[in-house]
Every structure is written in C-alpha cells, then in structure tokens.
C-alpha cells in the first residue's frame, strides 16, 4: 500500500478531537499556558455533550476569569467579587430547572467570598461550584491569597509566606466537605491529558447530582498562574506538581452514596 499522506488523514471521517462547539471564536485573554483556558474547554465540552447549552446559567467571578462569558456560549450573570454562590442560589431557586454553576478563583472564593462559599455549601444549594485554585490573586498582580503555600513568594509576600504572621494556607475543599449540604467534593487538575479527562468525568457527575437534587457539588481545580508565579507555563506546571499537589492532593474528598 502506498504511504498514507497527511491529507489522507485529515478528513472529516477521521476527526478525533476538536474544541467544543460551545467555545466562541473570541481569542481568550489569558496568559499563555494558563489553566483557566483548559478548564473552560473541559466545561464547554461537558455542557455540549450533556445538551445543556439552552438550560445553563453560569455565574462569573471577579478575577482573571471575569470575562468568561465571552468564551462559552451559554447564559451568564456577573457577580460582585466573591458573591457568585449567593447569586447562584437566587438563580437556582428561581429557576430550578436550570443547570447552575459558579466559576471562581481562590481570591474570589476563599478570601472575599468565604462567607458566601461556606453558607451556600452549608445550605446545600443545588449548584456546582467550580473553584480554580492557583494559589494567588492572578488578575491584580500576583498578591498573596489565603491559598498561597507556606514559603511561596508573591508580590505581597516577597520573602515567602510566613505562617507565624500570615496564617496557614486554607483548604477550602476539605472545609466544605465537612458541611452536610455538600454531596460531592473533589480536587482535580488540568495540566495533563489524564487530569483533564478526570476533571471532565467529575463535572459530568456534578451535572448528574444536580439533576438528582443531591446538594452542592464542589470541584476544585488546582491550577497554575505562570505570570503571577513568574515562571514559564511548563515550569509552572512542574512546580505545581511538586508543591501544590503535595498540600492540595488530588482526588475525591466526599462522594454521595449510590442511589
């Protein structure tokens, strides 16, 4: 048989992977290699595959992902900083048939929005909280976040986070897992293909649990911020694996009983 050429392979019937149709054509403003983009892609794939485009309402945070509504073609509402879970509560209670999620950074969810996060999870609102933990305030110039690791340098902890003065990094997923309102709490990643595929399964489970009115689903994605961490994207992913994953280990923290 003659050698198969590039043009023989790239035919529609051989298509294996293409970005989700729910991703708009807008070029994302994220820095090169930023996990926010990958997390958006996975979320859009699930919304497309589960036929949720027409019945989804996403709540965007304040942080680098504030413009997320430009990138995924579903309905969105913009919340004040940290208030996404409160707004999501209202949307879900008023429109219980909608699939409702928040998408929040660690500054948004674990600093200014701690109260909303905890009480929404405690009330067991039927929503998905997608928590992108990059251990820093990316948008505003790399300031220390409650999630910043011990010893980690940031623009407001230039000598590294000092626990005696600044307290310990906070594990939000473990905290909300203790609350009776959460039904599913898991920690995932987007820096490897395997990680992305696991995150996709986790989001699909959250869709199922929301349909079954099981309570709050909380999915943390341990992610990178190459610009804030002052590393190349590849270096940042390596640093994340060697440091972030030790303090924020990946895997399920709370799973609901099978029905």
């Amino acid at each position: 048989m003659a050698e198969i050429t590039f043009n023989d392979i790239i035919k529609p019937e051989n298509l294996t992977y293409k970005k989700s149709k729910l991703m708009t054509d807008n070029v994302m403003h994220y820095c090169p290699g930023c996990g926010h983009g990958t997390a958006h892609q996975v979320l859009a794939e699930v919304l497309e595959e589960e036929n949720l485009q027409e019945r989804t309402v996403g709540i965007t945070p304040v942080g680098c992902s504030v413009l997320m509504y430009n990138y995924i073609d579903v309905d969105f509402q913009e919340a004040a900083h940290g208030r996404a879970p409160a707004l999501a509560t209202a949307v879900k209670r008023l429109m219980p048939d909608k699939f409702v999620f928040t998408y929040q950074g660690d500054g948004d969810l674990a600093a200014i929005g701690t109260a909303e996060t905890i009480h929404t999870c405690n009330r067991g609102e039927n929503i998905l909280i997608l928590f992108i933990n990059n251990g820093i305030y990316g948008m505003t110039g790399g300031q220390m976040a409650p999630t910043t690791l011990e010893g980690m340098k940031s623009s407001t902890s230039p000598y590294g986070r000092d626990i005696s003065m600044m307290g310990s990094p906070i594990k939000m997923a473990d905290i909300v897992a203790m609350l009776p309102g959460t039904c599913y709490v898991t920690r995932q990643s987007v820096n490897t293909a395997g990680g992305v595929r696991k995150l996709k399964k986790a989001i699909k489970k959250a869709v199922q649990y929301q349909n079954e009115k099981r309570g709050t689903c909380f999915i943390e994605v341990v992610s990178n911020c190459p610009s804030g961490w002052k590393m190349t994207p590849v270096e940042s992913n390596k640093w994340m694996e060697e440091n972030m994953f030790l303090f924020y280990p990946l895997g399920d923290i709370k799973v609901p009983a099978e029905k």
Partner: protein, 75 residues
C-alpha cells in the same frame, strides 16, 4: 497488524506558544517553531509528523483549544 496514524492541524495564528502540548505529546511529535505568529508567539507545529499516534493529548491540554486531531487505522 493494524497501525494507528494520527495527524494534527494547529491554528498557529491563535497559538500562544505555551509549550504545554509539546511536553505532553508521548512520541514527541511537536515542537515550537523558530518563526513567530503575528502576536510574536513561537507557535507549535508538528516537527515529526510521521510519529503522531492521534492520541489527542496535546489538544486536550491546550488552553486555547487550537489543536484538531485526526486518526486512521491502517493495515
């Protein structure tokens, strides 16, 4: 024995040259070009196209969704 042949199409103008796809590719098919796109990024390209197995790993980790993957079984 059936063999899998893959191919990637990369939207090089939208690529940000982050290199995440390059280090993720098992057979080391990809590399960053010496050239840059209009934004100044060294875009990703298939430096060793014959080695691609169509696994899609590069495409699923690409934050900007610029890689499309095709594969065929031959033989």
């Amino acid at each position: 024995m059936a063999k899998i042949k893959g191919a990637v199409v990369i939207d090089q103008e939208r690529c940000k040259g982050c290199e995440v796809c390059v280090v993720t590719c098992p057979p080391q098919t990809l590399a960053l070009a010496a050239d840059v796109n209009s934004k100044g990024y060294h875009f990703s390209y298939a430096a060793n196209p014959e080695t691609c197995i169509g696994c899609s790993n590069c495409a699923v980790v690409c934050p900007d969704g610029v890689i499309t993957v095709y594969k065929v079984k031959i033989g």
